[in-house]
């Protein structure tokens, strides 16, 4: 899997002219990274807010030095997430262990924090897929295989797996976004729909 050396979705915006929409986009992106790494909605929110706050502080100090705000923000985010991880164990009181154990064995953090209606829409759409399509997605997403690896494993032409995956994803996108393509405007809802 390869990416362009520096994806060119946006030309870097000089930090002194950072629009609110760009800051919000950065905050949502940091939230996704932090949610993946920390598995906690509140911690991800805190990390995203902290990252944006530090970015703005840096802009206030020396905006001209920040040629690429998204890259700069990601660097901040990595430190914030690492600090959060390191502090998790230290902050956990020993008295909480028994309770948190009982909680952890019965609750899926993702199911708990995922925006409910988004999750339900995806699940409902997933249920309408053919068995073969569901199985392809299950193997790719739960088994973490690429379409090529799955095709090789099943002895199928890779193109067949890719087509099946594309067809299934398009149906899920319809359910998730209300249209076939992912949103391209910053006015979409927040990652978890809590208005934060």
């Amino acid at each position: 899997m390869t990416l362009p050396a520096r994806p060119a979705t946006q030309a870097p915006v000089p930090a002194e002219r950072l629009p609110v929409e760009t800051l919000e986009l950065i905050r949502r992106g940091v939230w996704l990274i932090a949610f993946r790494d920390l598995r906690d909605d509140d911690l991800a929110n805190d990390a995203a807010q902290e990252t944006v706050a530090r970015l703005l502080e840096a802009v206030d100090r020396d905006a001209a030095a920040i040629a690429n705000p998204a890259g700069y923000a990601r660097g901040i985010a990595r430190h914030v997430i690492a600090d959060t991880r390191a502090g998790l164990a230290r902050r956990q009181p020993i008295e909480a262990v028994a309770d948190s154990y009982a909680h952890a064995v019965s609750v899926d953090p993702l199911a708990e924090t995922m925006r409910r209606e988004e999750r339900d829409r995806v699940r409902a759409a997933f249920a309408t897929l053919s068995r073969a399509d569901r199985e392809v997605l299950r193997t790719l997403y739960a088994g973490n295989l690429t379409p090529g690896e799955l095709a090789s494993r099943n002895g199928e032409p890779p193109e067949r797996v890719r087509k099946r995956k594309s067809r299934a994803l398009e149906r899920l996108r319809q359910a998730f976004f209300g249209h076939a393509e992912a949103p391209s405007r910053t006015s979409e809802g927040t990652p978890h729909g809590d208005g934060s």
Binding site: M1, T2, L3, P4, A5, P7, A8, T9, Q10, T22, L25, I26, R28, G29, L32, I33, R36, D37, L38, R39, A70, A73, R85, A86, L88, A89, Q92, I94, A96, V97, A98, Y101, A102, A104, V105, P109, L110, A111, M114, E118, R119, R121, V122, R123, F126, L137, Y141, A142, N144, P147, L169, L172, F176, F177, A182, P183, S184, R185, T186, E188
Partner: protein, 231 residues
């Protein structure tokens, strides 16, 4: 409202899938995460990928911090039982001769980490039941989750509780991509074999990725099961 430029990434769905599985590495990871902070389209794809993982029953990827990168499992510690002059039963194939090796490194403190270290001390002393209990509580309290659940599962195996072991390894597997995932699949298969659930064991073995340290063991064991008619 600001109209964003079109996303130039043709393979964004694959990148999103890999992102949520925490399977991107090196420059790909750096580039995509930076891109993600400026691309609403890819943010939507990532949210969808989280939703798909939820729908297919996968869980969050492993939380990696403090210890795991420095821990090394000795894959060779998994030994298939070979009994001279007798073909081992399917249940015998689930036997594990030696516990996975844990190589400790200094870690930052806190009560949970102390509990984790206590668990690993008990593990090294072959106090399996105590180790399993401490490691489960440490995992629940925030210790490096994949490591703690993995060694909790190994402790359960040696404590003679394959059902609890299978459940603990399933926790590691449910965390998704991580350094302990291939080993967890192998050992879960072993636990399932001890329970007589050979078909499930074979299915788990087939999910051990090629090219990993335990892939050879998994394949040999899978072939052995298939040779006994397990499907």
């Amino acid at each position: 409202m600001t109209q964003q430029p079109a996303c130039p990434l043709a393979n964004r769905d694959e990148l999103a899938r890999s992102f949520v599985a925490d399977a991107l590495r090196g420059p790909d990871k750096d580039a995509f995460e930076e891109h993600l902070l400026g691309c609403a389209t890819c943010q939507g794809e990532v949210r969808l990928a989280f939703g798909i993982r939820d729908s297919v029953g996968a869980r969050r990827p492993a939380r990696r911090f403090l210890v795991p990168a420095s821990l090394v499992l000795a894959a060779a510690s998994v030994v298939l039982l070979v009994v001279p002059n007798r073909s081992p039963s399917v249940t015998d194939l689930g036997r594990v001769e030696s516990p996975p090796v844990y190589l400790p490194v200094p870690v930052r403190g806190g009560p949970i980490m102390a509990m984790f270290e206590d668990g690993m001390r008990l593990y090294e002393q072959a106090s399996w039941a105590g180790a399993a209990d401490a490691l489960r509580r440490a995992a629940a309290g925030g210790a490096p989750t994949d490591v703690a659940w993995f060694f909790a599962g190994a402790s359960e195996l040696f404590a003679g509780r394959p059902d609890s072991a299978a459940a603990a390894f399933a926790r590691v597997i449910a965390l998704g991509e991580g350094p302990y995932l291939p080993e967890a699949r192998l050992y879960r298969a072993k636990a399932l074999l001890r329970l007589g659930r050979s078909s499930e064991a074979l299915a788990e073995l087939r999910l051990v990725p090629a090219g990993t340290a335990v892939a050879g063991h998994a394949r040999a064991l899978g072939d052995s099961l298939a040779g006994r008619g397990v499907r």
